[in-house]
Symmetry: D3
Subunit: 244 residues, 6 copies
């Protein structure tokens, strides 16, 4: 049994608050247990230099931990003058994952940036960000289709992610901060609605892991992602309110 | 009459959501109309070099606009590699204002950082941040007194702030983004509960302003700050819940 | 009585040395007591991106303290890799103040940069810089009109600035470094020849200040600025020598 | 059949040139096909702040592509002023992988930095770097044991890595640059001599991949890593020549 | 004959204005023709880490061109975020040259920084800076001896520098900006009072130069440096006024 | 006699390994004794802004010490965020030297960058880099002429460099690290095949040097450079193998 009473395969309570803010065309505050990430989708005309004139768009992501989001204050990267290696690794993961289910031609020559800012960090922030960012991106595109700016919705599949790990030799799903800091193995898994893998990142923080343990982790992840996909679908069942 | 129906001397609806996040010892989500700023107070052992061994503490502030907080995406300062001049000016204002009502000896050799991150920007973000940061700082010190870490509460007075301005020749209080972008004069005023000024910053964006207009702006500001002080007092009437 | 024998409302001796250097189209070494600031106006074809094609010009300012300008050496910002918050705040103030009396259409699509470098710092450097920079800008435009590059002189009014403050409870004008470092309240005031305010920045370093004290400070400032405006007028009575 | 005639499960020719340079206590030039990475192990007294006085050492890595290492010149990160996200991701991977087989207590309070500089890049640079860095680290520790600086050899297991991927739907091992740039799926796998996983990083550049494809990739990787481990063992059969 | 009427071996008019500013313990405004450089010597307790506890002091230099010093505005390095290669090369040359005639043990564990800021640039700024910085350093040490802070004067010899070059095939001394920009060869020479070389830096901007031309340049430089040394001696004949 | 048995005028063993790497159009690993520098020539379409449309090309250089190249680890400039003053000084020297023997019109509107990365540093790295970079540049241009991209070979002369110095009062040629760290005078000399000087940089690290010593150093350098030019000529006797 886990400190907060969950079973090994059980997700923390998940909430997607749509349009938590109203200026960005897509905005979702995602909570997984005590982890809270504000994900906004913003659209800009200009695309990266190498795409200009190609007719293709781009989807990218940026991530940060707000200094007051954790038990110990995290120094502000803007004041320090650069993003940490961890931040760059996470925002590249979020960007890659979203692009894997996006038809960039359908996006047209514009850039959508998903800004994922962690308001409260209790473990699993990058995978929560992917789930929230997907919804924000979906709303953003839906609104562009509603406004006649896009012909068809560029998202080709649904997408969700979860972190899994081995703590005291036991495989478990959706680790909170306490569990994550004691995990021997920590794995982030991103999958599409069609049940295929977009990203598998497993790291042995302590003892290396066996092929059997790897398989058990992947199975747990697939199951949890299924639950998340259904919850996303419930949110998306209703189109977002149009932006005045 | 103003676009949103307010009178010239009327504040936008104000809300202080205490403990919006739970890891920082002080956390307040302040909303003034559609402006939303998350203010957290975090405590660190180390003090700036010039205070080491002095027995005195320090209170400082950092500020940012989340990229998705405005209609146009604001580039992320951490990715650009440095804070803008505007950001530094605002966080120095917030820090100075809070220190003006703080007995640094009573704080003891520790540093409290108020992180003010704008989730949604619709004008008056710096003055809203000051109001929210004061409450977050107050809760942080109250909890330290409750936990026996501080002998007495270091705040020596209450503190609030509001932005005022002249739009089409008319003085008005608590400008939203639309009004602020058309203002000929824009002024930020910070005052204590005892009715004295901590900061007065007035700038002629268009035509310079007369002494009479300056007086009218100060009067409007003082009145609005009175309202804000009363709302803060209602929040502080109950001590914050102790942190587990 | 003040340490250097001045009355409370008396300015330090002011000197404007025109064309202290000869390559920049406007160059004034301004001294206020022992504070010396070299202000140069340089013209560049390119304007900021958002003004290209608008037919409007731009006036901006940059500021620095030379490392050897103060009693303690000030580390060189270029070696440290960035400008301090204070530097950015001051150069934004100088830029705003000058633009308040400049018809940017009359400037035409060019950028004039006022570089204000403090050779010797004894308090009131930012307000001395504004007085010197105004004259350098005036000479620069006069020379452009003389050379037929501009149709009419873009400056719409005269402009001067002074720092005032409260030391040991007493309001006084044009504080030197010793007085400034003991001031409870420090205020910078920028006004036009027409007697209107361009900028009012008052900060309580120690105890907050009353509305009465604010009024007294503003009156003292207005009077001193009148004196400065007359001294500027004497300099400008003669057009600058044309540049070979 | 692959362009260079290899079978799907066949590694490119591997060469480990020990002591390619002579000043660093460990130095190996590793070639995998036309990829060449110079890996050096350097020892420094100081350890990261959080380890001081803990009696534990630290092993970390830094990585770069020499500007002339690829067909198109890669801009020099030192001249640009910062390391790219990709560089930071790779050097964190190398550091984590080496620490997974290192007894940090046995290292003692010193820091060993593995510098992996790619002289020639033809795909699989990060996994080649891990193989070369392991040997350089091994030699460095062996020399410290020979010189009586260390009581026992801190490496607890052998370690090797390989990149695998799916190109035109076909799983293959040790992709060169041409294959890697066309791969739909790209995976880096790091394993110990005991056949357990230290790191599994799989990314769908094009279409997402199935669980079956994931299994086939892992099997291919394990086999290739076995070959690499045997080649490393041959090198390590002889102790490195002592440093004069 | 040269544009300004000088002979080939003739220096421009040289002026050393002692104590141009009064807060730094050494301050000299040096003019060579229209080149003006403000050189100040500032003393700081702390020495570089590698000298701590060695009982030896350090002398170093920093250099900059004020943005308004040249015909075209020079962008401000502090705003750009780093010093140019040229700036670093020049300040290292000034530092090395001064240390060559300084007994660092006699300096004691303190650091003297010579800040050389070019107010007006018309060629030969680095060699003018060396001449001015030597005098500022000399005054700074003299004042420390007067104040009993130093036992003996640390300067072991006099020091001066001049730039020479070949323009249209003709060797000449002390090039101004117009001559320097057309020079095929540009050489900076630093020598001591004892007639020995501290630094010789010759660069072929156009056609390479012969051994004979090199000799002629060195002879011209030695002669001009003799003149400069005599002018410095005249200034140093009187001790600097003590600092209040 | 010198520690490694050489006479005062004798070079260390020199080796030029052509095409050490195969992707850059010019690549030479130069060894002088235990100093090893990898020099690559890379071609890029874009030229610096001020040359666009001029029909002229540009040749520039960048330099670095690999962290593991010296006895003590050198911190990686990319991780530190900027190049040191020494690095910038050296790469500007290499660039200037190569441009002195290059007809930039014949290069056409392209930029060739010589990247000189020191794999092993035992003194004289900058002059070894110049010798190696010249060969790499020569091969690069030869291949462009072979491929019909250039009409004629842009190099107008041969070029070599050597470091000389005075150790314990004795002039010697091609100092290794041990000799260089004890040298009172250190001089780098760059000459063309026609026996003329491109660069002469002499610095008194200890006691200043006399005109006689300067002459002796230049004579020793000219002789050694003659030997180096002959060895370069042997390499260039055969054209480089064409690039597949």
């Amino acid at each position: 049994m886990r400190p907060d009473g969950r079973t090994l395969r059980e997700l923390r309570p998940v909430r997607f608050e749509r349009d938590f803010t109203v200026f960005a065309p897509g905005s979702v505050l995602v909570s997984m247990g005590r982890t809270k990430v504000l994900c906004t989708a913003s659209v800009e005309e200009r695309v990266p230099a190498w795409l200009r004139g190609s007719g293709r768009g781009w989807v990218t992501a940026e991530y940060s931990l707000l200094p007051g989001s954790s038990r110990e204050r995290v120094s502000r990267e803007a004041a320090r003058g650069r993003q940490s290696g961890r931040t760059q690794e996470i925002q590249r993961l979020i960007g890659r994952s979203l692009r894997a289910v996006t038809d960039l031609v359908a996006v047209g020559e514009q850039q959508v940036t998903l800004d994922c800012d962690v308001l409260q960090a209790d473990g699993g922030t990058r995978t929560a960000a992917i789930c929230g960012a997907y919804l924000a991106l979906h709303d953003c595109f839906t609104r562009q289709v509603q406004a006649g700016l896009l012909v068809r919705h560029p998202l080709t599949d649904t997408l969700a992610a979860v972190s899994v790990g081995i703590v005291d030799g036991v495989c478990m799903v959706d680790l909170d901060y306490a569990e994550d800091s004691r995990a021997e193995v920590d794995m982030n898994v991103v999958m599409t609605g069609s049940g295929r893998f977009v990203e598998v990142q497993g790291t042995a923080e302590g003892a290396p892991f066996s092929r059997g343990e790897l398989d058990e982790l992947l199975t747990g992840a697939a199951e949890a992602i299924g639950v998340l996909l259904r919850q996303q679908a419930e949110v998306l069942a209703e189109p977002p309110a149009p932006r005045r």
